[in-house]
Amino acid sequence: MNAGSTIDNELVAKAVAQQDADAFGELVRRHQSQVRNFLRKLTRDVSLADDLAQDCFMHAWAKLHTYMGRGSFIGWLLKVAYTTFLQAKRKSNRYGEILQQIGHQAEPAERQHMPTSDEITDLDKFLAVLTEEERAVMILSYACGLSHREISDAADLPVGTVKSIIFRGKEKIRDRFEISNHQHG
């Protein structure tokens, strides 16, 4: 266990035992960048991602007692972030369905920031060829640096499935963008 994890675990213990908002605030300060980066890549919308990040930390506060110290805290936090994202998506899908049922066209997402052609990066192009699940797993692996085991916990998938999703994702990207694949070890 590294020093960062020890500090995280101490802060979690303090936040849970004393309902200490300052200790939790310190945890937020330490990890907000990674959580917001993860959600920004997943949603490709800065303001939506930041709203989801706030909700994620509020959920994390409510569920903090369930973090047992097994695995890294950031891994657990990213699991909460991914769950928050999926819940929000389900809710917005349901909202769209209801609007359609009552005869309205689903509202164009006003806040959805659609990047202009100048803003589209190579990463956006990569992510666009992936399914949502593949995107989440690839981001957790390559952007957040989680191990296969941590991704399996975060995305609630078996380790084998995580490995095959990463393999499949890489293959899709390779097929589309012709990236070489020499083993480095």
Binding site: A53, W61, K170, I173, I179
Partner: protein, 122 residues
Amino acid sequence: MKSVIINMADRMKDAQDLKLESMFTSKAIADNGFSARIQQRLRRQLWLRRLTLPIAVLIGGAIAMKPLVGFITALPKLFSVLPASVSSNLQQVPISIPQLPTIMLGGMLVIVVVMLTRMLEE
């Protein structure tokens, strides 16, 4: 000492992995008051949760006070209606306390004060 099993398959990186890693890497996002906003929301939530019980006790007490006082004051009249044999048995039990409403109100206030003191201590 704890030992950690490292899966070497996780550590093996090919050129595509390295390229992807470099593409996925992004600058750290500055806090810019983000954590302060979360803390503010948390504190508000904590206060609301702490105030809910005393407020519920006060409201419940206020609602229950009038009928309860009415019931207690009606008790002696009830005894007069009861047959003599039953009421003589009941009157042996000392249940008529004239200061009962005051005692109940006092009790409720004590509970609220204790809760508020605990809240302030926290």
